[in-house]
Symmetry: C2
Subunit: 222 residues, 2 copies
DNA sequence: TATTTTCTCCATCAATCGATGGAATACTTT
DNA sequence: AAAGTATTCCATCGATTGATGGAGAAAATA
């Protein structure tokens, strides 16, 4: 059960890691209820008992997938932070959107897993969800949207979450949106990136209308 | 099978309508795979055979739910168009976001159903999905984003779809996001509306940066 | 009222689901 | 080689799933 020194436990090569990888794919594609343990082990090419041997029951495997995907996303976010450090704000947004789109285009299951969790009933309450608000706060800080004392207001956090969800939506909705817009994969990714920049850069770079219509505190109209 | 004059077929009062309403709720809450026929008829308080008598198999019922929800959304969109007609652009966006948020807060299953379909594998290919690009084109026209000849470019359609998905994300992710942000329902809805206006109004009202970083055609940098 | 049609429920089906016990194999250690 | 451990597979379990046939009740039609 508990490996003594657990060296490279979830490697891509180890059986446990291979299962986790396949599980991420299947859960991302069909959702928690649509994904079956048999479909996962069929993907790996093993018997279902082997799956149960390495990971416990379905909920445990799902939790492991979520944690793994969140880890993966978190590592990439720090890379993005590193890449945009010191650059002017508009350029930072530009790079960040490009990097996020590229990453999620390569790992479409991640955005699907996250959005599925957002939309499903909050039953699989993983405490690790506390990390997402942390991500949002980090992003806000690296965009200069934090308060003087380093804290991040609820409004700012909400806006950052909205930004992330917009990116998730475009990347996880690729199949449906592509068939709607009649675009091949490459063209769609370009269009999605452009649309995201069109939506997000003006807002988060301060190009707000002089008297915004009921934004934040300024709720009076002219 | 085929009612002779089908008067008020899917009424809220008729059994067929009551089932459809419950099905929308259950499908929206648990997704296609997570929703069971028994859970739906349990919600209505009828036997499972009665459900199968009125609606055929599960896929047919699901299709009916999607079509019904899309109808409902379409009707509301025309109401929004009517409400914003003639107003200045910023005010139009303001009203439209308020109305859409209110509508989807009252019918959270609709945004969930739509987003779930966007994210799931495109198996339940309903031809009625052609209506969504139509919605997007209508919105673009009523926002003055159409070409001179009335057509709507792919880029514009993509941006409109992005706008709609942002709203869907906030409204269908209410449970998860609320627990992340520690807000009650009312406060969350207010924050979500503000965040959406913060993100969408500058972009779609033309408050773009003077030289946008690789937006649309202007792909050269200074 | 008699008859036909429409509707609802009970019982049940095969298929599939998550999950387990135990035999057989592969690998490590002695 | 022998003993012990770690891993994989086969067979199977009970529960739940989508789906159906047929009996009976309710309503409409004659």
């Amino acid at each position: 059960m508990a490996t003594p020194l657990q060296k490279a436990q979830n490697d891509r090569d180890s059986m446990k890691g291979r299962i986790l990888e396949a599980a991420r794919r299947v859960f991302g594609l069909y959702g928690f209820h649509g994904a079956t343990m048999r479909a996962i082990c069929r993907e790996v090419g093993i018997d279902i008992s082997t799956l149960y041997y390495h990971w416990g029951e379905k909920d445990d495997l799902y939790q492991a997938v979520i944690i793994d995907a969140t880890d993966c996303l978190g590592r990439w976010l720090t890379e993005v932070e590193l890449a945009i450090k010191g650059k002017p704000l508009v350029r930072r947004m530009d790079i960040a959107i490009d990097m996020m789109c590229g990453f999620l285009a390569d790992n479409p299951e991640i955005s699907r897993l996250i959005l599925q969790r957002y939309m499903s009933d909050t039953r699989h309450q993983i405490s690790f969800d506390r990390r997402v608000p942390g991500f949002a706060a980090d992003i806000a800080r690296s965009m200069g949207l934090a308060e003087a004392d380093g804290t991040v207001s609820t409004s700012t956090k909400t806006r950052i979450l909205g930004m992330m969800m917009s990116i998730y939506s475009f990347m996880s909705g690729e199949n449906m949106l592509r068939s709607m817009l009649n675009l091949d994969r490459e063209a769609y990714l370009a269009e999605a990136r452009d649309a995201l920049k069109y939506m997000l850069i003006p807002a988060f770079c301060g190009f707000q209308p002089p008297v915004a219509g009921t934004i934040g505190d300024q709720r009076h109209e002219h």
